[in-house]
């Protein structure tokens, strides 16, 4: 290593720590706010250290406060969001792994047409076709259903491309050996392909779980009933800066509850997360 004098290393550490303070500050401060009383929050500046209302605020938000957020408990919201995030992540992986399997390991008419049809969906994110997609949902009766919240987000080219890419690196000899040993397509998929794809599946799962958890525009459109809201949408409805009724201490608790699960997934599955992001993009 060159240029690693103690002073330079010290500066590097100092800049990094400063950067982390900036990056972490909003989240930390939300936590601090979630442990203070409403009166303290309404009189800025808020102390930099957590207050003594932790149990009170969190138990009120989780178990008390019936009738908040349009009569829906935080538990329901967390449940909805978990269902949506898991369904999107798992559904996407299943759907795309089988279609990538078909495209790589079979030869059939229109194979490449199908591939391109899937590929081009990259250029049609929800944001550019919101109104017509909403209309389709209404016609199919999918408003306020879990299917409506998840199905349209399950098909995307990204996961299919990732699996296709990975499958193409699997040597043909492996397929040949499996066939010589009498393994059919199901057997090959289950006993060889799935175990080989484990890392890719884990990486994709983390990214898609976060994607599902943080959805905003789509849940906003397809849910009318409060008890079908995801926690992100419900939070938006809780906040009102115009009137003084916003119960900020509870909003902050809900904020924490909304960001802790995805943060845990990212931090605990960091290895796969980073792999999923960086390795697949190169």
């Amino acid at each position: 290593m060159i240029g690693s004098s103690p002073i330079r290393t010290f500066i590097a550490h100092a800049v990094l720590i400063l950067g982390i303070l900036i990056v972490a500050f909003p989240i930390y401060y939300t936590f601090v706010a979630s442990t203070h009383s409403l009166q303290t929050i309404l009189r800025p500046p808020l102390p930099l250290l957590p207050g003594d209302r932790f149990w009170e605020n969190y138990s009120t938000a989780l178990f008390g406060g019936i009738g908040r957020i349009g009569g829906v408990s935080v538990g329901t919201l967390l449940y909805n969001t978990t269902v949506v995030a898991l369904a999107i992540a798992i559904g996407k992986i299943v759907i795309s792994i089988v279609s990538a399997y078909a495209i790589v390991f079979f030869r059939f008419p229109f194979r490449m047409t199908f591939f391109w049809l899937i590929f081009i969906t990259l250029m049609l994110p929800v944001e550019v076709r919101i109104l017509p997609t909403y209309k389709v949902m209404v016609d199919l009766g999918l408003i306020d259903t879990y299917a409506g919240l998840t199905l349209p987000l399950m098909a995307s080219a990204t996961a299919t491309l990732l699996f296709r890419q990975f499958f193409m690196t699997i040597p043909g000899e492996l397929v040949e050996a499996a066939r010589v040993d009498g393994a059919g397509p199901f057997r090959f998929f289950k006993d060889i392909l799935l175990p080989l794809s484990k890392t890719n599946i884990a990486a994709l799962f983390v990214i898609q779980f976060i994607y599902g958890w943080t959805q905003y525009l789509w849940p906003l459109l397809v849910t009318n009933r409060n008890d079908m809201n995801t926690i992100v949408i419900a939070l938006r409805k809780m906040i009102s800066f115009a009137d003084a009724d916003t119960e900020w201490h509870l909003v902050m608790v809900t904020c924490m509850l909304a960001i802790i699960p995805p943060i845990l997934v990212v931090v605990l599955m960091q290895r796969w997360f980073v792999r999923g992001l960086v390795d697949t993009e190169k």
Binding site: S99, V104, F105, L161, T214, L217, V266, Q270
Partner: protein, 340 residues
Amino acid sequence: MPQSSRPSATKKSAPHPYPLPVTNGGRGINAGAPQADEGHSGKEEALSPRVTFPNKVLPYLLVAPQLAITAVFFYWPAGQALYQSMLREDPFGLNSKFVWFDNFARVLSDPNYVNSLKVTVVFSIATAFVSMAVALLLAVMADKVIRGRGIYRTLMIWPYAVAPAIAGMLWLFLFNPSIGTLAYGLRWLGFDWNPLLDGTDAMVLVVTAASWKQISYNFLFFVAGLQAIPKTLIEAAAIDGAGETKRFWTIVFPLLAPTTFFLLVVNTVYAFFDTFGIIHAVTGGGPGKATETLVYKVYNDGFVNLILGDSAAQSVILMVIVIGLTAFQFRFVEKKVHYG
């Protein structure tokens, strides 16, 4: 057409964590025309002989779920958007008239639309610049330290997991004029800060929130990009007497160009499309129309104001922008990747 797209067909394609429109797909986008099909697959087999299973029906069943969802939720609505963009409809859908490109003409000549185009451009450039500059600085520092690298990374990736809308709310909580602690600090310092009334302040706030959320993503990519640069080059320059700053600007930064270009496109797309939550939760496009981005306007015109034809025309324009960005990525970004 198959010939022109052929050489790149075996290149790596890289999916994006979001279903974003841009990816290193590795192929020219125009090669997607159906007529390219037969010759295409035939040649692919000739180039890369692949052992396959002989089943005739099974593969169709395997692609069926994805194709069904794609057809119902992607192609059908996209077609509808195209069709509606040429219709003039009343809000109740009782009367409609085919008007060709009238909607486009009206949308493009509408000062509000031009304004939101400007807002989007300013917002995107500012967000991409701020988040990439901060991330690059931190990544360069992280590349220098040996001890604690893992901990720094762990602490740096949190914001990625925060929903854009919540990121917006967190920053709004800090900078809200009545209860925000940082807003209090700004006023104490003498700034006349009010993002709820002042357009520039509102823009600064949404750019801050949007950039903050994107720092972790850019950081991870810059770290990976820096690690891919051969250390021998930097050492050679150091032996030749180049100082640290000079080494960075003449060696590291140019070699990092592929990563930078890639992130530039990804961040632009992020700012264009994924920040709807921030705008909707923080400013609602206001004050005035100071933070009304294109996506927000499509939503607002379609769902709130119920001007269906205009909204559809805007959707189609957005589609063109997405396709343009994707094409840009293929032509310029993909070709510049020369390391590794």
